[in-house]
Symmetry: C3
Subunit: 431 residues, 3 copies
């Protein structure tokens, strides 16, 4: 349902591609702060937007994100020494600070001023909400950090994880805004416990009662408001409303006062996505039980391997699908919402061939998101800069999952339930 | 001895290639029936003629063979639920029957007729002789199943195996019709036991006496009759006659009343071949000893790994070649006829560069087969449909391995010895 | 600092590339003699200059180096039988001697003269200094073997190793002539033991005192004389002089009377290098302690895996870098000079993108070597044959590492210290 050209246009993210440059107008989640936990700790490899980079935390605690290749002879700075406010290449000792300046070049004569002529590519970094954000676009276009609700709460209120998925970012994003698959992929086979994985009783009832939700889309300055409406047994509508915030943030629909989960589907390269996930409560610390569940691979957070962040359940082992479990316990035979999602989106191939899909009315959110992305990129190619990156407050929303009277239009539901709880910490200002 | 164009022409098997389309005029062995043993058992992945497919056995016992990709959003149907006469995608619950019809589309509104507009690619399947055959060509050209002798006997008379080879199908086929290598590749180093792997004393004597057999080819409606003639010590001729039945079936030369072995070298993709092998006796059940030998990786059947059907002896371990065995026991140092064959044909590369061969008189069977394939494809490209697929009875032949007087021409030998034993079960009619 | 065309020109080594053909004017180290230790031992696979070959030692002890593919049907000769003065293909028994002649063709009729029309590609081989050298160029251009000093000593005086590196040969060579990185990559963090890996006290002092050596280059008939000059604390110059002998031989700078180490960075293919290393003393056998150190992966010789010669410390395990060791013991956190070198040169990628380097004055040796290679290839493309391959005696030099008065020019230092010790065995004549 996309032609091949458009499919390539909105999936490719490397430097000098239209979508790649568009994405570089936003701050990008590059790594977890905990990956570079302390000053002068070992540097780590980071691949984002098809660029191979090295992240390090310097002596002052600032995070640097520099090109993998030392500009001298192109040895990897990964092996470098992180010491005294800079990263020093092990080959000839050239040293760069977090801004990319060459601050020492001991292999050259002291009188040489070659040091002042050499820089390594370095991207500005900010930390917020446990995530290191990078800005990889032109310096004169540097935007605000998005005021995401989960990033504003104290660390005690939030659990954060990162997970590698082996497919293009758009597949991952489309999975995140497709509210209709929860009635199937994530469902249980037991009647009173239809959606075992769903935390909400309202969802369980509605998903059981009405498996072909009707979709409503409204454009917002931050992206799209995506509502999936199901009839309920008692004559109401059950709404699940997902905010899709440009370019790749979503919040899973959640009932008022529930723990929420937000996702960011960040392109590592054209065929790999890093999903940053935050589960948080706006008003209270997470309980030990909640934290324990996330840490052990519960509902929204996947158990991943060290360094690579690849889940243990992956395509090489068919996501540990158990056919007997599929026959008797749940719809997919796969354990965990994330593994279920990964199984279907990775099985489409590295970049899904969207010319061969057959989309129905229940896919209108996906169609709407693609149209929006195509419009964003078309505008951008005509020189119209995106506005959302320069207005971080646009991101100050939450999702909704509520029952409402049939007479209430979606925008009223959205207005009533998508405001972030008032008692949350005052949102932080950018930069 | 083939130019690069012809080599590409007869080795490439994907959709819309000339050879690929020609091969799609025949029923294709797609999998063993035992891979989908029971109604509603788990679906399995099948790659045939460079198409990625999913096979399943439905509630009524029919085998379905459908596209890997669900036509909705292109999730793999491999993860699907095989239930109530159809395969249901785990993503949004779309369900397809063995004919490819969409029989349920629960994610769409009940009033929607979108279900009736969507199909998944599905190929007709038939089971015979323990094999699931598929027809992947245009529906109006659907042919007869070939009346292969081994497929007509009761299951008790037959042992069946499947084995993955990591090279193009033509290399595998050429190995199967090359009767001259048995004097070398498959030979023993012990004088009275020259061809340890050969079951026949006549072969042992003749292969020892005359290692440069003369080849005789005769065209048949089903393909080629390939005779290799060796002089014997007592002034007779020892004939080994292989029927090559279009497009990839052969029968190993065997003496009258012996157990026979037939091979089908089925292209999985351009660089992978699935060899389906049947050892059978036309008149009696196989003995426990015979069956035990095949099951444990004896003369003609290879021990393979589960799911992939890759042999344990493979190119990654140099086919377990033992140089001391090669010095003292057999010619190759490799155990088992199939592993010996695989070592040489896979070592030619994924697709052998036939522009750089040097073929002699002992390669005339291979030359003849290539010429026949080129002619078949040339005719096909001119719109002349192959006739063999529409006459299953042509395949009702066996091989021969006999001593005969020097005065007897090959065709007389063939006529006398290549008829299938009369007391075999009445051959089955097609479809 | 090279444009993309020049970078491709001097890195690509396959048949019919300019550099590939230039390199084929020299004898190439193809394998260690010990890989084919005895007459009629098993053949081994050898990839050199992007050609896949099979080496064997025949009954008379001669080494043959032939094409991997049997010219008949292109089965690999690796599986062949090495017997009675030739290598026999296991497929149909064709047999080739070390010159490439087909000496038996038993699958063809005795009266056939097809045997005389078929040859396998075979390259002349010579053994010297424990290495099998091959000549892969046109027969009428066959040169002399280089009179390398380490190859002339008795085996007792020499330790030889071979090691696979996963990058282009030029990266490996450039590492070998880059004398400035020893002050960093190979340095220790302890003051009095700055260069723990360096055997020489002079180096330790000088590398500590002056980390930006000045480079001096002089062209020689055999290649380049590369001098790195450092100031010493006592007002002298400390010289490290490396001879780079065309096309890929170097000798690590060593003090008079010390054990020396020579390297040959031989292109296996465009993205793989085989480093042949010899440590030798010109005047005496190596001691048990020295030999033990090399055998267990000491200073210059790496512990490698059998058959592949890939080091145990490799890019898949980040060369076993230990960040705590890097913090407290040595500059790189990697154990062993070779692993340190591999870490940096392999991390540049399979073929370094030299268009994006920033070279300083300390890189003048590398710049000089590239210019020389470009000139050699340019001359060669204009029909001017290289002369060095035809004058083996040019290679009769050693390296130097000495302190000398500031008034002494490099060429005087070179003349005084780079002559091979007189009492060395009389150098061998070529062929």
């Amino acid at each position: 349902m996309l032609n091949a050209e458009d499919n390539a246009l909105i999936t490719r993210v490397g430097p000098n591609t239209p979508m790649g440059e568009y994405l570089r107008r936003y701050w990008v989640p590059a790594l977890l702060s905990e990956e570079v936990p302390t000053p002068d700790c070992p540097p780590v490899r980071v691949t984002i937007l098809a660029e191979t980079l090295i992240a390090f935390r310097d002596t002052e605690g600032r995070v640097g994100l520099v090109d993998n290749y030392c500009p001298h002879r192109r040895a990897s700075l990964f092996f470098g020494r992180n010491e005294e406010s800079g990263l020093r290449c092990v080959y000839h000792g050239w040293k760069f600070d977090a801004t990319g300046a060459c601050v020492d070049m001991p292999s050259e004569p002291a009188e040489s001023n070659f040091k002042d002529k050499v820089r390594v590519t370095a991207y500005p970094c900010e930390e917020r909400g446990g995530v290191v954000w990078a800005y990889m676009g032109p310096p004169d276009r540097q935007p605000e950090l998005p005021n995401l609700a989960w990033a504003a709460v104290p660390d005690s209120h939030r659990f954060l994880s990162k997970c590698r998925q082996e497919c293009n970012w758009l597949q991952a994003l489309e999975g995140g805004i497709d509210s209709s698959h929860i009635s199937f992929l994530h469902s249980s086979l037991k009647a009173r416990d239809y959606a075992i994985n769903a935390s909400s009783r309202g969802l369980q009832d509605a998903a059981l009662h009405d498996r072909s939700p009707r979709f409503f889309l409204e454009h917002a300055d931050y992206g799209l408001v995506i509502g999936a409406r199901r009839s309920t047994a008692d004559g109401q509508y059950y709404w699940r409303i997902t905010p899709w915030m440009l370019p790749y943030s979503t919040i899973v629909p959640a009932e008022p006062h529930a723990v929420m989960t937000g996702n960011m589907y960040v392109p590592a390269d054209d065929e790999t996505t890093l999903v940053f996930r935050a589960s948080w409560h706006p008003l209270r610390p997470l309980t030990d039980a909640e934290r324990h569940e996330y840490e052990t691979g519960g509902v929204f957070h996947e158990l991943v391997q060290p360094v690579t962040y690849r889940p243990y359940a992956n395509k090489d082992n068919d996501y540990l699908q158990d056919r007997e479990m599929q026959r008797t316990v749940n719809f997919s035979g796969i354990k965990g919402i994330q593994a279920q999602d990964m199984a279907v989106i990775e099985s489409m191939g590295a970049i899904s061939d969207r010319t061969r899909e057959h989309l129905g009315t229940s896919d209108s959110a996906i169609l709407g998101a693609r149209r929006r992305l195509l419009r964003e990129v078309a505008n951008f190619q005509e020189g119209i800069e995106p506005e959302a990156p320069h207005n971080g407050d646009l991101y100050w929303v939450r999702s909704a999952a509520v029952e409402a009277p049939q007479s209430m239009p979606m925008l009223d539901v959205a207005e009533q339930y998508m405001a972030v709880e008032k008692s949350t910490l005052a949102k932080q200002s950018t930069t």
